[in-house]
Symmetry: C2
Subunit: 340 residues, 2 copies
Amino acid sequence: MTKTDKWYRLSGPEGDVVLSTRIRLARNLNGLPFPAYMTVEQKESVVQKVRAALPQSPKLTLLELRNTQRIDALSMVERHLISPDFSRCADGTAVVLSDDESVSIMLCEEDHLRLQIMRPGLQLTEAFAAADELDTQLDEQLHFAFDDRLGYLTQCPTNLGNGMRASLMLHLPALEESGSIRQLANTVSKLGLTIRGCYGEGSRSEGHIYQLSNQVTLGITEQEAMDNLQNFAMQIVREERAARRKLAQDMRYQDNIWRALGILRYARSLSHQELLELTSHLRVGLSTEVLKGVAFTGDDLNALINDTQPATMMMLARQELEPVERDTARAVTVRERLAE
Amino acid sequence: MTKTDKWYRLSGPEGDVVLSTRIRLARNLNGLPFPAYMTVEQKESVVQKVRAALPQSPKLTLLELRNTQRIDALSMVERHLISPDFSRCADGTAVVLSDDESVSIMLCEEDHLRLQIMRPGLQLTEAFAAADELDTQLDEQLHFAFDDRLGYLTQCPTNLGNGMRASLMLHLPALEESGSIRQLANTVSKLGLTIRGCYGEGSRSEGHIYQLSNQVTLGITEQEAMDNLQNFAMQIVREERAARRKLAQDMRYQDNIWRALGILRYARSLSHQELLELTSHLRVGLSTEVLKGVAFTGDDLNALINDTQPATMMMLARQELEPVERDTARAVTVRERLAE
């Protein structure tokens, strides 16, 4: 596993504001209860069926969660490959991953299959095309439960219909600073969209990162849902950029940006929360060209944020670390990666 | 006026804790009211008498305050050459300075003469010797008012007796951090000493800098007062050093020290108050060897703190600067002086 082959180390369109695109499809097999009502044996049978149905390309690897180290599972949560709840339900469950981690399929989470495709930047069309192709390949073998009136059958009624959730991870420091973010939250619900913190429902925004996704799945095609999301996202991108240009005129904000770099380059202890806050300033500095003469890019920041998450750090270091040790080790990594 | 010839750019004994030593003598001429009750003409006559009595060595320059620019006068306050009140009373008053600013004499402040000798570090004996020599030279010409029972006559009864105030500027971040400073304040009064903020009575401590001085002047010789001060100061020095060594073991405090350096090297705007707070951490870092591989010394910090005081900055820049402009210019100076 080299550092360069992961999807989140690559740049994407509108990457100054849209950090990543995610398409998630909820699918279920016919003739079996939903996972919440399944025995371990029934879950294992789903895993076996899916294993047999996996396409040759892209190359996919199936990991049974019971054979996965706790730290590796927690790191997968941090990398948004599996959900927090799923990481705690190891019996009979499994996850399918592509080498670049742009494809993941949770087996026997809330639904039998949760297909996920990730792309850097704003790439709804590309991500959906990849999801659709994988869905079609699997459907040929597995024959997903589908109802002419309700669409794809899912455990939770809110996923009925196309069963698709398209999400964009947005970095909105300037709209947060200007207070426009609250207004935005009111607008999105009228458009059948929802906005929330970066770890999904109920989570707080950390480092000014928000997740924008479609709310409505029934009575709407995937394309309509994505067009809706794309249009609104581009409006937010334009607003965020305008707000950043304004913010970058402010001497105090410029000062904040440079101080953030100073702290990152000198601190001997850093929590991941603080790293998110400080790198948020650096992103604005890079995109507004306040930060000049630095060697790192927004992609480097993405990789840094990923690699210094608590469980991911321990996975990469191949050892358990106490929180204090992590904060120290994180500061070392940050100093190395952001060196002059 | 070169940068290297000022007393405060030189190192002194115990300079890691004792920033400077000051001896001040209050003296008055016979046959004249105290300055508070003098006419401008009477004040001018005092200035003339002192001008005629100034010794050849050390070379001293007399400046009439009415001929002094407002910014220069404010800068003299910042450099502790004159008092804040004195800077506002220009009519008939004057100040006598040596080139290195280690000697200053305020004429017609609270008393007719306020002689002051400054030295870097803990140098009570040396500073008093210089003060005593100048006092003797002036007394031969001016015949200071002296009473066998009350000693030197001064406007304020608290200065009667030897008329001497010996003060030490102490940097006590570790004793402040540990909370011992409050206990210290209780102890000093029992010893006939007083401790307060660095700009004298009623002023707050900035950057963990405190002024320790003798309180009692009547019925005690200068030597007794200084011995008392010296002994107690050395006790504080030992306690502060021990507390710093303990503090320097603390990973969080080490982190603070490095962050302070990061902010100073990267900030685009710095208030003088913040500069004092941050350089306070650097001093501890230098004296405990937490900060390694840096080119600057404690003396450089002393000079930096001096040169970036609001009025002193404007005096050196030879222009008026708004507070925001000063904060920006200060950050530029700090980045230059503390560069890697």
